[in-house]
């Protein structure tokens, strides 16, 4: 599903952030991406979602080499992904329903069809009763769940979350991880970047550990 082969990435005027990273993620897997802040987790996720291109090496997403894609087809590739951003990137000028509606509108789904799917997504994250609320009135955990609802509403095959539990207290973090587990169980490939030790230690899933731009240890796989 996702394959990185000797991937290097450096931004102009900075040190190399990724220094030759290779790994593979199978379809339907849930993988944790761990490492300290600044280890290159966000960069790796951006490469996965074709937001950035590698300086060298290849990134294959479902057999498509993203370095070789024309810019015009990248939007269509991105629609395969559900993205949960570190800073939510919610739109604060509209209510929860309209926030979740955005990916569907981009896909050209509107009307009743869209409304049904939006409510289903809100229901899944437990925010169905807040569809008219503005995001600013939600708690941190609720905002995070809203971001997840937006990421999954167009039923992506890959869900990528960057520090989804970053600023949440433990019980909220557990709830969120439970959500990701649920998505994996229905066949979605899930990649979660985190530096939260609790999350990592409690997870039965494979973890990729990044340190100073290198994939340091492949922590052993627990039975899942």
């Amino acid at each position: 599903m996702i394959r990185f082969d000797q991937v290097r990435k450096r931004y102009p005027g900075s040190d190399e952030i990724l220094r030759g990273v290779s790994f593979e993620i199978a379809e339907g897997e849930l993988v944790l991406l761990t490492g300290q802040s600044g280890a290159g987790k966000s960069t790796l996720l951006k490469l996965m979602a074709a937001i950035e291109r590698p300086t060298s090496g290849t990134v294959l997403i479902g057999n498509q080499n993203i370095s070789k894609l024309r810019p015009a087809v990248i939007p269509y590739l991105r629609r395969k992904f559900g993205l949960v951003f570190q800073d939510h990137k919610l739109l604060y000028d509209r209510n929860c329903f309209e926030n979740v509606a955005l990916p569907l509108y981009i896909n050209g789904v509107t009307g009743n069809d869209a409304a049904k799917r939006i409510r289903a997504a809100l229901d899944k994250v437990g925010l169905l009763n807040k569809e008219k609320a503005m995001p600013i009135t939600l708690s941190g955990g609720e905002q995070q769940r809203l971001a997840i609802a937006r990421a999954v509403v167009s039923r992506p095959s890959i869900l990528i979350a960057d520090e989804p539990t970053g600023n949440l207290d433990e019980s909220y973090a557990g709830e969120i991880m439970a959500l990701f587990n649920a998505f994996q169980q229905v066949g979605v490939t899930v990649i979660v970047a985190t530096h939260d030790v609790n999350t990592i230690s409690q997870s039965p899933h494979r973890a990729l550990h990044l340190s100073q731009g290198l994939l340091e240890v492949q922590i052993t796989e627990f039975a899942s």
Partner: protein, 303 residues
Amino acid sequence: MKHRLNQHVQAIRLVLARMRRSLSSTLMICSVIGVALCLPAMLYVAVDNVSRATELLQGDAQISLFLKQDIAKSAATALGEQLRRHPSVSEVRFVDRDTAWREFRSGLATDHPASSLEQNPLPDAYFVKLKQTDPESVSSLQKEMQAWDGVELAQADASWIKRLYALLQLGKQAVLALAILLAFALTVIIANTIRLQIMTQREEIEVSKLIGATDQFIRRPFLYAGMLYGGGGGLAALLLLYAGIVSFNRSVAELALLYGSDFHLHTQWANLSLVLVGTAVIIGWLASYFAVGRSLAKLQQAG
């Protein structure tokens, strides 16, 4: 097909909703565009009507043919026939030298030096009214008749027509120049408005791009916004123009009445509205296309 149509309907709905939310500023922009469009349109109507009025005045463009003193009676009659047969001539009046002399002398005081002349100095003359009244054909006819045998002098009183034509030509050029300048101004106004809107929706655009929106998807509502601003401005211009013409027409009709004419300002509304609104819509589209293109390129760099 249905999917594509749906995308456009969705974009238009979005734009209309945004415009309704900021109704006063939308109306303001439309009226600014309206005023800008109205100026060249008014000038055009003025020039168009002046040129129509001159056509009415030129109904009596004529050439005076003065014949040679020693011309034979038969030759003069033959010339008259030739004139009547000429395709550009509508009316011919002959004044023989004796009649002209009598008329001339009757108008003079008895002690005028000319009344003491023994001999008649005047020639026979034809006064010719023409079908075509534009300066080029008048002066070419004049040249043609001047070359005829027996004609001493062919005189066309065309110089004032020429001047008027030149002035009208100048007016038409002024309309064009003003239209081009204001089209440029409109482009800037609309592009700037769209640019400001893009800035306020920057977050939405960024997020949309991240989750797979194509450039067309992002551009579409702004293109419709530009076209709607243009169209609204065009309609505002038509309203202003209509109000202007109605109020002017009253004074114009009064003035025309003094000259015994029923002249009034006349406009081809169908054509004018089509051109005005059509141009405004096209300018709106172009301006927002530029604005969005530039902003998207900037976002691309930043992201």
